[in-house]
Amino acid sequence: MTELLATYDASSVNAALLTSSLLFGIGLVGFLSRRNMIVMFLCTELMFQGAALAMIAFGRVHGNPDGQTFVIFILTIAAAEAALALGLVVLLYRRRETLDSEAWSELKEC
């Protein structure tokens, strides 16, 4: 069984690459279209997830552990981003008593 899993499998790499690009695309759509600030940041996590999956898949293609190593750094950045973003969201929520990002639309220039 482990041998079966360990042998390179072009179709599972392709399935993973398709999944990763769709995760990235869906995360992008969600980030642009959702109004709730927390869900917007959840969508950036979706995009991180897609990037990590692509890293692992390409590391598999080239038989190189660096791909897996870099996912650790992606995880680190995701954790740092979550901490900062959620701190920001709490701050903004306290100011306006709403999570709606439109509440801050007067920040734009015109």
């Binding site: 899993l5 109004r35 869900v39 552990p65 190593t69 981003e81 929520y93």
Partner: protein, 328 residues
């Protein structure tokens, strides 16, 4: 007969149309039709991609497709569910499904690290903030806030996403790239084993414990490697790998089998610590700074009255009563 690229574009367009129909708040039947359309589009994309990989032959790989489909379903629910708490729970589903894909791609350690760090730590933080900033719906009859139900410009957002996916697909799944990937994987099969043996060479303590075990020596028996290149202790004579060690005054050759190859976690750990030590330090600094930043950002702002502000500025109080100050 459509070419594969055109077919994939059309399927992605179908899936995007389905996504728009799910995102728009509307009648249940429209949303149902949208999910059927999206599901069909994604299924078609998977079929096309797998055809590209195997040339149309071979058994369909059930597990990768299953995990991929679960991940995409979860992602679609994250961006369409009207209640943020459920969106976060669906994100956990995405994390678990991608951890399954990680396992299938041979990244055991990262799969479990992903579940522990993402589903266990980051998502708990999200849940916590969701609870902290929870608003009861304004009008009693609806179950979600209006800004969660109505997406902003669903159609144009999905068009942007579609362009993104189309570009990514052109890069990832064009025939040239596919051929290059297969070629490098054919080398990769050989090379990845060589890589693993190299990694073993860079783990002298582990190698020594293997050698001691094979020679049935005690744990504190001194042992040294005999090799012309100290960075390539594991040598190969063409068909099998071996190390030469000096133990108890004589040289001995110990042959190594595939069972002695390092496990995934050992490989990742060795690469991380030996090749990227500075990056680990930087990652630690980033995490610390994020911690400080979050504390500073989320600190409660204390509202100061006119009197307190004057006192802080070194001026005398305006009001007559001396003990009127609130919390400072």
């Amino acid at each position: 007969m459509l070419s594969s690229a055109t077919a994939m574009l059309a399927l992605a367009a179908f899936a995007s149309a389905g996504l728009v129909m799910i995102m728009r708040p509307g009648a249940r039947s429209i949303r149902l039709a949208g999910s059927v359309l999206g599901l069909a589009g994604v299924a078609g994309l998977f079929v096309e991609v797998l055809k590209l990989a195997s040339g149309g032959a071979g058994i369909p790989p059930v597990l990768p497709v299953l995990f991929g489909a679960i991940a995409i379903f979860g992602a679609a629910r994250v961006i369409t569910h009207p209640r943020p708490v459920f969106a976060a729970i669906y994100f956990i589903l995405v994390v678990i499904a991608s951890a399954g894909l990680f396992l299938l791609l041979g990244a055991d350690f990262m799969a479990f690290a992903l579940i522990i760090v993402y589903a266990g730590a980051i998502l708990v933080t999200y849940m916590f903030v969701l609870m902290l900033a929870q608003q009861s719906p304004q009008d009693g009859e609806t179950s979600a806030n209006w800004y969660d139900r109505a997406p902003r410009e669903a159609l144009s957002c999905v068009i942007i996403g579609f362009v993104m996916i189309a570009t990514l697909g052109q890069v990832l799944f064009n025939p040239n790239e596919e051929a290059r990937r297969v070629a490098s994987s054919v080398q990769g099969e050989v090379q990845s084993d060589a890589d693993l043996w190299n990694t073993l060479s860079r783990m002298p303590k582990h190698l020594k414990s293997i050698a001691r075990e094979k020679l049935q020596l005690s744990r504190d028996e001194p042992i040294t490697f005999v090799a012309s290149d100290p960075n390539a202790v594991v040598q190969s004579d063409g068909k099998d790998h071996f190390v030469v060690v000096t133990a108890q005054g004589k040289d001995q050759r110990i042959s190594l089998s595939a069972a002695d190859l390092p496990m995934n976690a050992q490989v990742v750990g060795t690469t991380l610590v030996r090749d990227y030590p500075a990056s680990i330090e930087v990652a630690g600094v980033i995490l610390t700074m994020a911690l400080f930043g979050a504390v500073v950002l989320a600190r409660k702002q204390v509202e100061l009255g006119e009197d307190e502000r004057r006192v802080l500025a070194g001026l005398s109080r305006l009001s007559v009563e001396p003990e009127s100050g609130g919390p400072r």
